[in-house]
């Protein structure tokens, strides 16, 4: 039995007196695209930062492919790729250099590395500007470059914070297709989003959090039941978050 790609156990994060996340339990199943939904300030970014070691939990544990990220950060961090909500990358490197930087950082095989770099840069439509400083890139271009490094690495688990924000319709279509294809190849994807249509289209499992608490988790049809028979994800989402707010 292979361990769950991402398992959060009683994950709690406090910023001073403020509890941003309280006792979150989520177990992601293999080969799924899991969507993390919730209103602004619900704690999505906080969850993702805790999952990837950018923040340290106040209590609780994060297991990446069965490895506790607090106990063995190096091994755990090898397993996933992160795409954060804001694409800050080294402005004084070129896109080309950044690809090789990542290749070295993650110790990728050198066989045919250059060809693979070229391939990914072409896929994400940044090959033409590969030797320009990243400083001159637009938001979307930087995001595409990060996605290119993710594809270059081809990790088992991909964690993304609002990946569609900042992409043009064409790129966003392409990225969604890539996610589906990756999922078919057995990769695990965990993403946060506000766009319910994206979630409906992509995600096989959905977790909804509100004010730092998990209020629903399951497949589409399971959520339908919880919400008392609402049909569209939008209605389900609104019903569930409102119910959580009322209680």
């Amino acid at each position: 039995m292979t361990p769950s790609p991402v398992k959060l156990i009683g994950l709690t994060k406090k910023f001073g007196d403020f509890t941003a996340l309280s006792s979150l339990d989520i177990e992601v199943e293999k080969g799924e695209i899991t969507g993390l939904l919730g209103p602004n300030g619900a704690g999505k970014t906080t969850t993702i930062k805790l999952m990837t070691g950018l923040l340290k939990p106040t209590s609780g544990r994060v297991l990446i492919a069965g490895i506790d990220i607090a106990d063995n950060p190096v091994e755990a961090k090898k397993k996933f790729a992160l795409v954060p909500d804001a694409p800050f990358i080294y402005g004084k490197l070129t896109a080309w250099e950044f690809m090789f930087f990542i290749a070295r950082l993650y110790n990728l095989s050198k066989d045919g590395l250059e060809d693979r770099v070229v391939e990914q840069l072409r896929t994400f439509n940044i090959y033409e500007v590969a030797h320009d400083l990243i400083d001159s890139f637009s938001h979307g271009m930087k995001q595409r470059l990060i996605l290119a490094t993710v594809m270059l690495r081809d990790p088992e688990i991909i964690i993304l914070d609002e990946p569609m924000v900042g992409l043009d319709p064409e790129a966003s279509r392409m990225v969604k297709n890539i996610f589906k294809e990756l999922s078919e190849r057995g990769k695990n994807i965990f993403l946060s989003t506000h766009t319910l249509s994206d979630a409906t289209e992509l995600c096989s499992k959905i977790a909804i959090i509100s004010s730092g608490r998990l209020i629903a988790h399951g497949s589409y049809s399971e959520l339908e039941k919880i919400s008392g028979g609402e049909k569209s994800l939008e209605d389900i989402y609104l019903k569930i978050t409102r119910d959580a707010g009322a209680s």
């Binding site: 070691g53 923040l55 340290k56 961090k77 090898k78 800050f88 490197l93 030797h131 320009d132 400083l133």
Partner: protein, 548 residues
């Protein structure tokens, strides 16, 4: 008018919230707060004590005592004026044109007038708080010696604010006008290079002119000659002139304080107004100009180096002109330093010995300010890009060692160049030569470990500009900590050096106690500070959180 005021206060409030964040560690940790505050006070007490001694000494010179104190005051204020101008110019670029919040400010319904004035306050603050650490003990020491009336401190406080505002407003006007003519990034680099070279030349010039008449030990009258040789620009067009007059009005007959106070107020008012009208007209254009980056291409050369982080840091450093202009400043510092020592009239052996000894302390201060600029800032300079390294399987222990080594090697080269160079000129006795070289080698190691470590304990990933990292509380703490570290070293060496010098005079070796105990103290001090820094630094980096 009301709109302007509202925006002004809103902008200040906005900035103050950011500022508060850097002090928020104290809410969690009261003990840290107490330690930091007492360190700062101890620093000012020591500086004040030093200044107190000097003023008392000069004051006792027969007949001309008081007028010498006035000259000394003048020297202090002109030095502060120069330093302030220098740091205001650099800070102005950051606050005006490289501020990350500009984007937000311009889309929000801020009145530009309010923002412009807010930036004036911001610049004055960042550029001047360091000089306060000297100015404050100076005023208190003067006040104590001459028994200034209580209300004079209120007068000084206001006058100092006017003084700072004037310098900031003048620098900001200059910068805004210059950016209109040149693109800001290039301009700033030219300006820094120009200032550095110009300053160095000017300094050498003055040194060569004056230094032959520098004081001989123990002869106050010659000290008087030295002070009077300083041909101060006695021009009423500089605010430092009026600051000097203001201070002088409290202990020497002549015009009362009100005239000087009024002049300083007038300076602040006029320069702020000039700045306001220039900025209203050109600030936005300038900012647009700065934002539009020229496209630069770098074609790959050979294979990407083995150590990716090292290669990344190196390329970032070389391609960011702002970074290596700082290195240039340091180079100029070395030139000034060596010339300084070369031109010293050291005709008494005792002086050679003394200068070679004090030299160790000077090198320590040079190293610690380099450490603040580069070593302390190295983790924070990863900034918002730090997620890349922190979410990667890079061993953080290795990252700490790398950041340390990157800064330690240049620091050690700098330190050894300085100590070997000045010892070559000074030709101290062999024992002191060896001791000073060893101690400086130690200092390079300990100061860079301390910097790397404290940089991890107090990271500022959200800093909009490097000055924000240096002026953060962690930065101040690093400066204070290295100050005390150097002080302890100097005391330990002094114990040995005194015995050693006496033994040279007497012709037989120093008592063993005066060799072993200082040596032990120096070794224990360095090893313990280095070890603690190393351990705490790694722990801090392993527990670091990427909160931006």
């Amino acid at each position: 008018m009301r709109e302007r005021l509202k925006s002004f206060f809103l902008y200040l409030a906005f900035w103050l919230t950011r500022l508060r964040q850097s002090f928020s560690i104290f809410k969690k940790n009261k003990g840290k707060f107490a330690v930091s505050i007492s360190l700062a006070f101890l620093f000012m007490a020591l500086a004040g004590g030093g200044i107190f001694q000097v003023i008392r000494y000069v004051k006792e010179v027969p007949i001309v005592g008081n007028s010498l104190v006035i000259r000394l005051t003048g020297i202090i204020f002109i030095t502060i004026l120069l330093l302030l101008t220098y740091s205001s110019v650099i800070t102005a670029f950051s606050t005006l044109f490289f501020a990350e919040d500009n984007e937000f400010i311009f889309v929000s319904p801020f009145h530009p007038g309010g923002v412009i004035l807010g930036k004036l306050i911001q610049t004055s603050f960042y550029a001047s708080w360091m000089s306060l650490l000297v100015l404050f003990p100076f005023i208190v020491a003067m006040g104590y010696i001459y028994k200034f009336p209580i209300y004079s401190y209120g007068v000084f406080t206001l006058a100092t604010i006017f003084f700072f505002l004037t310098v900031a407003a003048a620098s900001m006007s200059g910068v805004t006008l210059l950016v209109r003519i040149f693109p800001a990034r290039k301009m700033r680099d030219f300006l820094i290079v120009g200032l550095v070279i110009g300053g160095t030349l000017l300094y050498i010039f003055f040194r060569i002119l004056n230094i032959e008449q520098v004081l001989r030990p123990g002869q106050q009258i010659l000290a008087a000659g030295y002070l009077s040789l300083f041909a101060l620009p006695k021009t009423p067009y500089l605010p430092s002139y009026w600051m000097t007059k203001l201070v002088a009005s409290f202990f020497s007959p002549g015009a009362g304080w009100m005239m000087s106070f009024f002049m300083l107020f007038l300076f602040a008012l006029v320069f702020s107004a000039v700045y306001y009208f220039i900025a209203i007209k050109y600030f936005y254009d300038g900012w647009e100009k700065v934002k539009s980056q020229e496209r630069k291409r770098y074609l790959p050369k050979g294979s990407f180096p083995r150590n990716p982080v090292l290669a990344k840091d190196f390329r970032t450093f070389v391609r960011d002109t702002g970074q290596w202009t700082q290195a240039l400043i340091i180079l100029a510092l070395i030139v000034i330093y060596i010339v300084n020592i070369y031109k010293m009239p050291l005709d008494v052996p005792y002086l050679h010995y003394l200068v070679a000894y004090l030299n160790i302390g000077m090198i320590g201060f040079v190293l610690s300010s380099v450490g603040l600029r580069f070593t302390f800032s190295s983790i924070s300079l990863e900034g918002r890009c730090f997620w890349i390294l922190l979410s990667s399987p890079l061993n953080l222990r290795k990252l700490f060692r790398l950041k340390f080594m990157e800064n330690f090697v240049p620091m050690e080269i700098l330190g050894l160049t300085l100590v070997l160079g000045s010892n070559y000129i000074l030709k101290p006795p062999l024992a002191l030569n060896i001791v000073s070289t060893l101690v400086v080698a130690f200092m390079g190691l300990t100061l860079s470990l301390m910097g790397a470590s404290m940089g991890c304990i107090y990271p500022r990933f959200d800093a909009a500009a490097p000055t924000e990292i240096e002026t953060s509380w962690g930065g101040v703490l690093y400066m204070l900590a290295s100050f005390f570290y150097i002080l302890f070293l100097l005391i330990a060496i002094a114990v040995w050096a005194r015995a050693d010098f006496l033994s040279i005079v007497r012709g037989y070796g120093p008592d063993k106690v005066f060799v072993f105990i200082p040596a032990l103290v120096i070794i224990v001090l360095n090893v313990s500070v280095a070890l603690i820094s190393y351990k705490r630094g790694i722990r801090a980096l392993e527990e670091i959180e990427f909160q931006v």
